[in-house]
């Protein structure tokens, strides 16, 4: 045996385990709740970014636990591209009504209508969300935004801090990030600046689904396999809507699909799936050979640095 190990200090006594070691999802849950509580304690006007997607649903679930049995002292903010699946908006409104939350909606269409934004040639509105987001943060005087971003989503996100202070333009400068030590989060900021806080930073897609399974977190039904009219573009199943319909040579067909992410309908695709229950989705995610963004997000395939560029401009 060539392994070199120093023996434990002689005489050191070890108590028996009072409880078994916490599982990954319970450790992640404890960390996320600690982070959410820090935001509630240290900021004056915090809000939670709520799209109706699975990560924001998990985030809201955790926020409720963080202050239970008291109500969640957070406004919900949704940047609405106008390109949402109706099931997701219905889910959003149901959750807001059930929880008695205050929902602030920033509609990208209003910015397009009055000329502050221009529709893109490709019809995709994901990159257009940044300006309405920043304008609404300023108008509502939000000083912290809790988001469901995860470091495993993208290489640029892997460099993101849990507490990320943004300048007046919402910009992210990876070289000027604060070192993040122990469990001491520094959200101190100047007037006009705000913090983006990501309690799910250390979660993977599989962790999110394992947690959804353990807690039975409600989600829009589009996350589970269902019949849908879709057409194939760039290797993704797109569904018709206000964002568009099949072009020449593209054929609409009925398939059994589910969504791994929710986003702008023009660039968010469904995947073939028979996973109709949470447990089946967990099994599918565990066996997947593609990342959720690689499988379903055209906007992240544009370049090696697509996400980095959007984050520098103030994207989520």
């Amino acid at each position: 045996m060539t392994l070199t190990t120093r023996p434990p200090t002689p005489g050191a006594t070890r108590a028996a385990d009072p409880t078994p070691p916490r599982s990954t999802i319970r450790a992640l849950e404890a960390e996320a709740i600690e982070i959410i509580r820090e935001v509630i304690a240290e900021f004056d006007r915090p809000a939670l970014l709520f799209s109706g997607g699975k990560d924001s649903a998990v985030l809201l679930h955790l926020a409720r636990k963080a202050t239970a049995p008291a109500p969640v002292p957070l406004a919900l903010l949704h940047v609405d591209t106008g390109h949402n699946l109706p099931e997701v908006l219905a889910f959003r409104d149901r959750i807001v009504a059930e929880g008695g939350h205050r929902l602030v909606v920033a509609r990208v269409e209003e910015w397009i209508a009055d000329g502050r934004l221009q529709e893109r040639a490709d019809g995709t509105r994901n990159p257009l969300q940044t300006v309405p987001l920043l304008d609404t943060i300023a108008a509502e005087k939000f000083d912290a935004l809790l988001g469901g971003g995860r470091r495993d989503e993208d290489r640029a996100r892997a460099k993101e801090r849990i507490f990320s202070v943004r300048d007046g333009f919402g910009g992210w400068d990876p070289r000027r990030q604060r070192p993040e030590l122990w469990r001491l989060y520094n959200g101190r900021h100047a007037p006009g600046e705000h913090a983006r806080v990501f309690p799910l930073s250390n979660w993977t897609e599989l962790d999110v689904w394992a947690y959804i399974a353990a807690e039975d977190v409600a989600l829009p039904e589009i996350y589970y396999a269902h019949e849908r009219d879709v057409w194939l573009r760039d290797g993704m199943w797109l569904t018709p809507g206000p964002w568009g319909a099949p072009r020449d040579g593209e054929r609409l067909q009925r398939r059994t699909v589910r969504y791994r992410t929710v986003g702008d309908g023009s660039c968010t695709g469904a995947v073939d799936s028979q996973a109709r229950t949470i447990a089946q989705v967990v099994a599918e995610v565990a066996a997947s050979r593609l990342t959720e963004r690689g499988a379903t997000r055209a906007d992240d395939r544009l370049s090696e640095a697509a996400m980095e560029d959007r984050k520098r401009e103030g994207y989520f």
Binding site: T2, R14, E29, K159, R178, D272, A283
Partner: protein, 448 residues
Amino acid sequence: MTSTLDLGEADTAAADLAQARSQLRLVVAGSVDDGKSTLVGRLLYDTKSILADQYEAIEAASRRRGSDAVDLALLTDGLRAEREQGITIDVAYRYFSTPRRSFVLADTPGHTQYTRNTVTGASTAQAAIVLVDARQGVLPQTRRHLAVLGLLRVPHVVVAVNKMDLVGWDPAVFAAVTAQIDAAAAAVGLADVRSIPVSALTGQHVTPDHVTPEGELDAAGSWYAGPSLLECVEELDVSHDDADAPFRMPVQLVVRPRTPEHPDYRGLAGRVAAGTVRVGDRVTAWPSGLSSTVTGIDSPVGPLQVAVAGDSVTVLLADEIDAGRGQLLAPEDGPAPQVRAQLTGTACWLAERGSAPRQRVLVKAGTATVRGLLGPVEQVWDVDTSNWAPAMNAGAALNDIVRIGVTLAEPIAVDRYADSRWTGGALVIDPDSGATLAALMVGDPAPS
């Protein structure tokens, strides 16, 4: 992208597995050119944590850069500038898992700002992987990494003696490097250090029974019969590192719903930093010094009889004592934290601009943030000799590790860092810019 997974009847197995495995937080540190990005890429690749689209993307990027082999380093270098310059700038967090454990890996650059980034990555780590080039042995930067891990008191260190294939897997080289490592680790107080001979390039001894796509394992390395790097971190026992210490919980906020359903509910919300707390325990809030009895513990999974280090809970007390944010809960009859208005300790200076004596700062420890005045630098850590040297300047510069004091506007409750990593560390913050200036590890009180 249009393939359908065949879902068998054992659907719940994946969910059970994903819900059952434990988590380990790792930091990986290495000097320039030790092959760290390759090692991290190897761990991700061999645990199947790199998915097909990610692999295709770095395959294509490798080709664009004129390389025949897939450059696994491209996987971890997340920023455009990093890929262009072939360096790692910032701490990156990576995720991989085995059936037994999931891992959060803080990948810290060995290039620029190494101390700042290693301190950051090490502060949350339960274990560290340090890379050493077998051909180079222990370099000054290796000593610096070990010194930082010792200062931050990372409980377990695994040294990957890399590029063993380039020295023909010579056991004598490994023995010599291991002896150097043991001496360097002992000098900085690291107690649990083990060395493993590896080749990140071929994967040998990084993961068990590794066979590369290119061919066979190098038989010259088969003399090593110990666990592979991955098996080693899978089996590390970390369950006692925080749980055996005296109970500590910084109070984050007071939960008071004042709703018709819960008119009188008043709970202290926080994360147990160390030890355990049980219903019926007598606890004291510091600095207030007031005590009460725990009547209930609410948690994300419902009421508990006992909460353990790492749990986020809400503690209910028999009496309405003054115990809001900034207070530290501790056992009434156990070792109490120190209540101090003068902190002395070891600081790692993290800001571009150096410190100045009598500089006005904020100190954040636990959930307390108070104003303070920095003292002059007393001693500086000499990384080459692993010794403290008298300070030549009154200020600390970026990446300096110094002994320094800070006078606080009001007393706060802290532990010695040697006794508790989570309640003995503090941030030094610039009150104007909000920047984090230094990481302070609280030491013994200065003799009065």
